[in-house]
């Protein structure tokens, strides 16, 4: 088997669908991963993201549709003939083999000679910053080190596409953040097309070029992380990625704003069909409190009912009598980071810009 140059193959999911005995796991999914891009499938458990990954890997066969890698239809190929790399959530290192044997496994399957195997193992161990650990057994390594070996093992064969299944799920929080940077950097350097499956929104936002949010077997929205976060298409996306204040109402005549019974008209940033039901999403960090609310498109009277120190920011819960509900507001502190600068029970102004209110679609 000839070894192709690393990565840079386009992965196309063309209308793939999969059901298990009447239960739809994945419904007619279309997704294109540009060569060299890192794309995250993000969604709650049971949304079909893992089934999608397993179809790409070849462990499941789609009922309909095709999977193409670098223009080649691989839908009918068994996993071992697809030339992909995969890192499992629990790393799945072979416990009965050393680090070097684990990394060399794929090379041995490709019948590559001993000398080249040894050289490649050393090169990969340098790449994942574990030089000299050839003879350790997986059980002797920490979770983070096992993660690196798993990465090295899947990358050493120059896979056309790298599949990451909740790769950081088993690591503790501090390690997770540095591994996010590390994996991101490694994938960028190697220019390898990568499909990441995760239920962790922070992981998806910080690691990928494109995030595809899934629910009940469908992609609700796919786009750049900032776009998905700032312009969520549906209420589910807005609420799944971070916190959101959602307002439901009817679009006023002339599309001037959103009407909610007994409340002032909420301004809309874009055009909307008058008379239709609609929902608006405003991120807590887009809301302003106190003096900062001066001169904004909408201003409401509010009262602080909760204040929490969150480290780099402060989170407030404020009651808005005009809306008859409570809202969340995040505020970067100007003094000491995250210090709470409004008192509980304090009455103040709340406001936001019309452009920060995102009109949501159904779903």
């Amino acid at each position: 088997m000839a070894r192709e140059p690393a990565g840079s193959a386009e992965l196309v999911l063309d209308g793939i669908a999969k059901s298990y005995g009447g239960t739809v796991a994945v419904a007619e999914m279309d997704l294109t991963l540009p060569a060299g891009a890192l794309v995250a499938l993000l969604g709650p458990s049971g949304c079909g993201k893992t089934t999608t990954l397993r179809m790409v890997a070849g462990f499941e066969t789609p009922d309909r549709g095709a999977i193409r890698i670098g223009g080649q239809d691989v839908t009918g190929l068994p996993p071992h003939r697809r030339n992909l790399g995969m890192v499992f959530q629990n790393y799945s290192l072979f416990p009965h083999r050393t680090v070097a044997e684990n990394i060399a496994f794929g090379l041995r399957m490709a019948r590559i000679g001993r000398a080249e195997r040894d050289a490649e193992v050393r090169r990969m161990l340098d790449l994942v910053q574990l030089p000299g650990r050839e003879d350790a057994y997986p059980a002797q390594l920490s979770g983070g080190q096992q993660q690196r070996v798993a990465l090295a093992r899947s990358l050493v064969v120059n896979p056309r596409v790298l599949l990451l299944d909740e790769p950081l799920g088993a690591l503790d929080r501090s390690l997770r953040e540095s591994m996010q940077f590390e994996i991101r950097g490694m994938v960028n350097r190697l220019g390898i097309t990568t499909l990441l499956v995760t239920h962790d929104q922070e992981e998806a936002l910080s690691m990928s070029d494109i995030v595809a949010v899934m629910r009940a077997g469908r992609i609700l929205q796919a786009g750049a992380p900032s776009e998905i976060y700032d312009r969520p298409a549906t209420r589910f996306v807005a609420e799944f990625l971070g916190t959101s204040n959602i307002f439901e109402g009817t679009v006023a005549p002339g599309g001037a704003g959103l009407e909610i019974a007994g409340a002032p008209l909420l301004p809309l940033a874009g055009p909307a069909t008058p008379g239709s039901r609609a929902a608006l999403s405003v991120r807590p960090e887009r809301m302003a409190l106190g003096p900062e609310a001066e001169g904004l498109d909408i201003r409401l009277d509010a009262r602080v009912t909760g204040a929490v120190f969150r480290g780099t920011y402060a989170a407030y819960q404020v009651e808005v009598p005009a809306l008859g509900r409570e809202l969340f507001v995040y505020r970067q502190a100007d003094g000491p980071l995250g210090a709470v600068s409004f008192r509980l029970g304090e009455s103040l102004a709340l406001g936001w810009k019309a452009e920060d209110a995102v009109l949501l679609g159904a779903g």
Binding site: P79, F88, P95, F105, M109, S154
Partner: protein
């Protein structure tokens, strides 16, 4: 105050301690297991005119006849073990990986024969393979494949088949319990790295389930080594240590020699146990 702090038991009675609970079992084992064993071992070292002797062991370990019997015993057990492993592994694999909701039924079918006495099972083989038994009846009278009944009973093959039949469940259950714990994702990892199904099996599945094969093999080997009833009823001229011990006791009435032989059989069993303990310890460590 002094009345209240005095909690020592009344004089003349001893408090019941937890270790005393095992005392009845210990006494039973000491009287009916350890003592006869020591008696038996001592007899093998007792000379004809009293005194200590190693003559019987010297004879057992140098005489070609006895060496042949020891070899035949070990060879028979090894053969039965090998066949049990070859038959048992696929069954265990099916049980763990393919049986799904039928696994309960498969386990029942495996264990059900163990619920009947070994004598009944051995007689079953006799009924099947007798000169005018079921198999010959079918081959000669019903299908007419043969002119004359085959001589099936009292051949080593039937004895081996019967032993395998009795012992294969031990092998299957030992392998299945280890195979159950082999992470499927390890096999999937191997496939992702370019290993086909066969290579995945030999590179990942089999090495990771070898402990189960080892445990099953030692179990089967030990039981086969001491098997008696099956070989008496279906032996087919096989001469093993348990059969010879029986002869020494009942026919030759050379108790000393019989004792020496049983000591050797015991040593083989102890070596097996030691191997198994080592295997389990390595697994745990």
């Amino acid at each position: 105050m002094t009345e209240m702090t005095d909690v020592s038991p009344p004089r003349g009675r001893t408090a019941l301690r937890p270790w005393m609970l095992v005392l009845p079992a210990l006494l039973f084992l000491a009287g009916f297991f350890v003592a006869p064993l020591i008696d038996n071992g001592a007899r093998s070292f007792l000379g004809e005119e009293g005194g200590f002797t190693l003559a019987r062991y010297w004879q057992l370990l140098s005489d070609r006849f006895y060496l042949g019997v020891i070899f035949e015993t070990v060879a028979l057990s090894a053969g039965v073990t090998l066949i049990s492993a070859l038959i048992g592994y696929p069954v265990a694999y099916f049980l763990v990986r393919k049986a799904g909701k039928w696994s309960g039924l498969v386990i029942f079918l495996l264990i059900a024969p163990l619920l009947t006495s070994i004598i009944m099972r051995t007689f079953g083989w006799q009924v099947l393979f007798a000169r005018r038994g079921l198999v010959n009846n079918l081959l000669v009278d019903q299908i007419g494949l043969l002119d004359r009944p085959l001589r099936l009973l009292n051949t080593p093959e039937i004895a081996i088949a019967a032993l395998v039949h009795v012992l294969v469940p031990f092998m299957v259950l030992s392998i299945a319990s280890v195979l159950q714990g082999v992470d499927r994702r390890l096999e999937e990892s191997a496939q992702m790295l370019g290993a086909g199904r066969v290579r995945t099996f030999f590179e990942v599945t089999l090495p990771l389930s070898l402990d189960g094969v080892g445990t099953g093999a030692i179990l089967v080997f030990m039981i086969a080594n001491g098997s008696f009833v099956t070989l008496v009823l279906l032996g087919g001229g096989l001469q093993t240590l348990p059969l010879l011990i029986y002869q020494q006791f009942n026919t030759t009435r050379d108790f000393g020699m019989a004792s020496a032989m049983s000591t050797i059989l015991l040593v083989i069993a102890l070596v097996c146990l030691w191997l198994q303990l080592r295997l389990v310890r390595r697994q745990g460590g």
